[in-house]
């Protein structure tokens, strides 16, 4: 008996996406996309995985000819690709990022339309001055609607509608963020957490970032200005929107932003890899962030 036989069984075993070949025998798999796709996933990075040999697939009786081999490979690859897209969206939740981007775009649109409406109203009512004490937001719109052009009134209605859509969407973003980014949301609020993920390029990308990067997310211009010239580094980017940052005294803001970002970096990792809220972590982190804002 050959001494190598039996002692190195793995060397004799070959695994294709459609069958196992062991010595002279082969075990073909059923023509089921689900089973075949599962098998391909297992074979990824497996040392015994072989470059496929369609002629062997025919010899073994898995398929009748090359045409059938390619048809089956095509169907399985389609199934696998659709499955991968599905998996990706389960962990990265692209809809959260698109929702928060939509929210920010609605803000831009509302501001643009409001600005233009005021200009229009001013042209119709020369005595109206922006320097004087004029109301803002809804009150301003009510004021302008009286005695102004009908077309302008309709546009003001549209702005009103958009404002309503905005608040609905904002609530939905917060709810989604609390679901997909529970720890980040608990620390910085749902909107800020979602904006951070959007700016980072996804929940996974955010989870891979160090705290120092999260601290200046959204302060791109200031950061690159700092890197290329001698200007001071930005203290905060999007995290500024957290009330603990913009609400604290100017000389403390940098510290709060730094501590918050460090904790957010940990929170993002828990969110991505564990996917659930960690109350013990949140409580301790909140306390640390609060302390950072206090005078020494």
């Amino acid at each position: 008996m050959n001494p190598n036989e039996g002692s190195y069984p793995l060397l004799l075993m070959k695994s294709y996406w459609f069958l196992d070949r062991e010595g002279g025998t082969c075990h073909a798999l059923p023509h089921d996309q689900r089973i075949l796709a599962e098998r391909i996933k297992q074979l990824e990075g497996d040392k015994t995985a072989e470059t496929p040999d369609w002629e062997y697939a025919v010899k073994c009786g898995f398929v009748k000819n090359r045409g059938e081999y390619l048809d089956l490979l095509h169907a399985t690859a389609l199934f696998l690709a659709a499955d991968r897209i599905d998996e990706e969206s389960k962990v990265d939740h692209p809809e959260l990022i698109l929702m928060v981007k939509m929210l920010d775009e609605i803000d831009t649109v509302i501001n643009l339309l409001s600005e233009r409406s005021v200009e229009w109203y001013r042209a119709l009512n020369p005595e109206f001055s922006r320097k004087s004490e004029i109301p803002r937001g809804r009150k301003l719109r009510d004021l302008m609607r009286d005695g102004s052009d009908e077309a302008l009134g309709e546009i003001l209605d549209e702005i009103e509608q958009l404002t309503k859509r905005r608040s609905t969407l904002s609530g939905k973003v917060s709810a989604k963020a609390a679901e997909f980014l529970p720890n980040c949301s608990a620390l910085a609020g749902g909107l800020v957490a979602a904006r951070l993920a959007a700016e980072a390029g996804g929940i996974r990308a955010l989870a891979l970032m160090p705290g120092s990067a999260i601290q200046v997310l959204g302060a791109r211009n200031a950061l690159f200005c700092h890197l290329s010239t001698a200007s001071p580094p930005p203290k905060h980017g999007l995290v500024y929107q957290y009330r603990g940052v913009h609400g604290s005294r100017k000389e403390r803001r940098g510290k709060v932003a730094r501590v918050l970002a460090a904790k957010l970096a940990i929170a993002a990792k828990i969110d991505y890899y564990r996917g659930e809220s960690d109350p013990v972590f949140i409580e301790k982190a909140q306390e640390t962030i609060l302390n950072a804002g206090r005078s020494p």
């Binding site: 497996d46 897209i85 969206s89």
Partner: protein, 200 residues
């Protein structure tokens, strides 16, 4: 390759991305596909009906669909989910496109699916594109060709494209890939080059 007058076309069901049809053939626009630009410049490897192709950086499947019209089978690798959604739609219409959602830097992920191929076409516009080609050359038959779309601006914007191209050709040769020809794709694609390579 099929030409109608001076227009490159391919034969297959139309309406993949709103392409124009000429006498029942699909127009393959050199301004929308770097591979078409290469053929319009009179260079490139002619695609034949028995060819097996590994296509790295398949994106939305625009060029892939034309390649699939010519060859036996295309293994189309694309890592990003959004373009992959489009590619799946294209692959449903064309049974010889095998869509693979994977990163071309990690060929071990698709070794179980991809057989030896006659042509590797790569269009990825990444800084490490030379390395990507080299790790995928394992799929090529020994006398096969590699068509490598080089975007020097993706490697280093601060140096001249010709300089970067020269460096890439040198890097490829240290990795055992010989560049037979370097074709600049102007006027269709300024600052893009196509390298025709073989395993040395």
């Amino acid at each position: 390759m099929i030409w109608i007058g001076d227009q490159l076309v391919s034969e297959g069901p139309g309406g993949v991305y709103g392409e124009r049809m000429i006498q029942g053939y699909r127009l393959w626009n050199p301004r929308r596909s770097k591979l078409a630009a290469l053929y319009h410049l009179g260079k490139g490897i002619d695609l034949e009906s028995h060819h097996r192709v590994l296509y790295l950086g398949a994106a939305n499947g625009t060029t892939v669909s034309h390649v699939a019209d010519y060859v036996e089978v295309v293994y189309a690798v694309e890592p990003a989910p959004r373009p992959m959604q489009d590619l799946i739609v294209v692959a449903r219409q064309r049974k010889n496109i095998i869509p693979i959602m994977a990163d071309a830097r990690r060929p071990e992920r698709y070794i179980p699916l991809v057989e030896k191929v006659d042509i590797i076409y790569q269009d990825v516009a990444q800084p490490d594109q030379a390395e990507i080609l080299s790790v995928n050359s394992r799929f090529l038959v020994s006398d096969g060709f590699m068509v490598f779309m080089l975007k020097p601006r993706s490697i280093d914007v601060t140096r001249t494209p010709a300089h970067v191209a020269e460096e890439v050709i040198n890097e490829l040769s240290t990795r055992g890939i010989r560049t037979e020809e370097c074709v600049w794709l102007s006027p269709y694609y300024p600052d893009h080059a196509a390298l025709i390579c073989k395993i040395s």
